[in-house]
């Protein structure tokens, strides 16, 4: 970093006339970088059109939508309607519940997987395990839903066939309210346990081997080494992953829920994003659904910023 001055002139170069001397040299500096600005152009255009126009469009949350003529401002009407709606309350609760279950139950899993993989000595077996367990991360949730519909089928699904061998009656996992939340948690684990462990594995492998050698000399066994050397070294990675998870908390995994949904259990796993889709794009209640989306975005943003501040204070490292 060599004395950067991010002067405002970088963003507003179009000033002419009797420019003060400092400003003029700023402009000349911008001109010197013109090749780079040109390269930024396609990307910036993309962010303006496909991200900032929608953000501007989100003002609809405070309006009534009119097909012809300008929309009318209605203030917080839609937000009041949202909070008065028992369906929305249920949807909000579902979102929090699904996210919290995944966060709490699945957080330790990739850490454990990374520790297990790291213990494997034969590099052939290790490579084999790794190349299998990372795969599900790259499958679409539609494919995964297809796989789980087949695996959990009460007629000829793998799980019920196993239950049958053990003498149990078949359970319609995908269509019963009692099990669908667990199906969501487990399928999320099926998809991400391997891939998410990669980050932790990299952190484990970055640990100085001398620490282990010292622990061995001190007579520490496998578990003591994991507890006293490995886990402490993973704390910063855990913090980062936790914050990222928190950032996605209000989403609760739209693609997953959307594709695991069916008429029997829809109310049980209806979350904010599926609600916005149904009210807005299926039902045509554009303004109301936009309000729900903005509600979600504001809370999500609050959570990310809070996590960022907390993390910065605790570890000196933020999200960015």
């Amino acid at each position: 970093m060599t004395g950067i001055d991010h002067s405002a002139s970088g963003v507003t170069p179009a000033l002419h006339g009797n420019v003060p001397k400092a400003r003029a040299s700023g402009l000349r500096r911008v001109w010197r970088w013109r090749g780079y600005y040109l390269m930024l152009l396609p990307g910036l255009l993309y962010f303006v059109v496909f991200h900032y126009l929608p953000i501007w469009q989100a003002k609809l949350a405070f309006q009534d939508y009119r097909i012809i003529g300008p929309s009318v401002w209605v203030g917080l009407k839609h937000f009041r309607a949202l909070l008065d709606s028992p369906v929305f309350t249920q949807v909000l609760w579902n979102t929090v519940l699904i996210s919290a279950m995944k966060l709490v139950l699945l957080f330790p899993v990739p850490v454990i997987v990374a520790l297990l993989v790291n213990e494997v000595q034969g590099s052939r077996y290790r490579r084999f395990v790794q190349s299998v367990i990372y795969l599900p991360h790259f499958l679409s949730w539609i494919v995964i839903a297809g796989v789980f519909i087949a695996v959990l089928s009460p007629v000829d699904g793998t799980v019920n066939d196993l239950l049958g061998l053990a003498g149990f009656a078949p359970v319609p996992f995908m269509t019963s309210e009692g099990s669908i939340l667990w199906v969501l948690v487990f399928s999320e684990m099926w998809r991400s346990a391997g891939w998410d462990s990669l980050l932790f594995l990299a952190a484990v492998m970055a640990i100085d081997p001398q620490l282990y050698d010292a622990a061995t000399i001190d007579g520490a066994g496998r578990w003591r080494k994991i507890w006293n050397v490995t886990l402490p070294a993973l704390v910063p990675t855990m913090a980062t992953v936790f914050i990222l998870n928190l950032g996605a908390f209000m989403s609760a995994g739209f693609d997953q829920v959307f594709n695991f949904s069916n008429d029997a259990i829809r109310d049980r796993i209806d979350i904010l994003d599926t609600y916005v889709y149904r009210m807005g794009l299926v039902g045509g209640e554009y303004a109301y659904a936009t309000a729900a989306g903005v509600f979600k975005a504001v809370i999500g943003m609050g959570m990310i910023l809070a996590a960022h501040v907390v993390s910065k204070r605790l570890t000196g490292k933020g999200v960015w």
Binding site: G10, V11, P42, L116, E119, I133, F138, S140, M205
Partner: protein
């Protein structure tokens, strides 16, 4: 690497066996369902009903399902649409992301910080799918492939990864290129890109997977089933259980001599077909992205 290569006690040996078995269990749980679907899709249609979910070998052998799938107009159309969206989308992604990352990796660029904040805002605040849809509509891009291709022109996370990577490149190399009068684009092309090739390859592969797996935007932006990518066709058929889209009676009769193809086998085949392209580029992903952790460097 040295310390515990010899496992002395039986206890330690048992411990190690348990660790390896736990991972093996994970491998089986990951692969078995996929192998089962493959087996079902390759089984003789008469033997599919009642076939156990535990089976990983076809019962009998028949390619009927695959013959129907690979000649079915809706499937072929879906494949072609997916291919078009994936190739065009990825090409645009890689060019736009690389150019942008290169410019933003230059610390001296005036306004760099402001632009980074400008991009981060879009990560932190996403007002949802309805405003996206309305903007697409106002732009007149509904029912055009461009909507699905462009909606994710630059993915902020990959951009940040690439910026980080470009920043690692030694400044002396860049200065040397500039001394010789190379333009920013020439420096990128001749100096930066070759050095950052693994990173660029990685984001290319990731963008490819993103596009191939995309379904939701296609669902909401494209009304015409003729424009749907394969994922949406699969969703309609397997998740929504809409048979009418897939099972034209004539297709059923033509290839099986009038006998019914089992619907379960057809669904299984469709799922496998949709994941094959991902499977095809997966080795490359392993090669570029996980190289470090898969080198087999072992510590005791």
């Amino acid at each position: 690497m040295a310390a515990s290569q010899i496992r002395k006690t039986p206890f330690e040996r048992t411990e190690y066996a348990i660790i390896c078995s736990a991972l093996l269990l994970m491998v089986v749980v990951t692969v078995q369902p996929i192998l089962n679907l493959l087996a079902v899709s390759l089984s003789d249609s008469a033997q599919v009903p009642g076939m156990s979910g535990l089976a990983v070998v076809p019962h009998g052998f028949s390619l009927d399902v695959w013959r129907v799938l690979l000649t079915h107009p809706q499937v072929l159309k879906g494949l072609a649409n997916s291919l078009l969206i994936t190739v065009a989308g990825t090409a645009i992604n890689v060019v736009a992301t690389t150019l942008m990352a290169w410019a933003l990796s230059r610390e001296g660029l005036p306004g760099r910080r402001a632009i980074l904040v400008f991009i981060l805002v879009t990560v932190v605040f996403e007002p949802g799918v309805v405003p996206d849809y309305l903007v697409m509509k106002q732009l007149g891009l509904l029912n055009s492939y461009w909507s699905v291709i462009l909606y994710r022109g630059v993915f902020a996370w990959y951009l940040i990864v690439l910026i980080r990577f470009f920043e690692e490149i030694p400044k002396e190399l860049l200065e040397a290129a500039e001394m010789e009068g190379a333009s920013p684009l020439q420096t990128l092309w001749y100096v930066v890109a070759p050095l950052a090739l693994p990173a660029i390859a990685t984001i290319t592969l990731f963008y490819t997977v993103l596009h191939w797996n995309e379904y939701f935007r296609a669902m909401i932006y494209l009304n015409d089933p003729q424009m749907w990518p394969l994922q949406v066709v699969l969703r309609q058929f397997v998740v929504e259980g809409d048979k009418s889209l897939m099972v034209g009676l004539d297709a059923m009769n033509k290839y099986t001599g009038g006998s019914q193809i089992d619907l379960r086998a057809l669904k299984a085949g469709m799922i496998i077909l949709t994941l094959i392209p991902v499977l095809a580029i997966y080795p490359l992903i392993l090669k570029f992205f996980t190289k470090g952790t898969m080198s087999g460097a072992v510590k005791g």
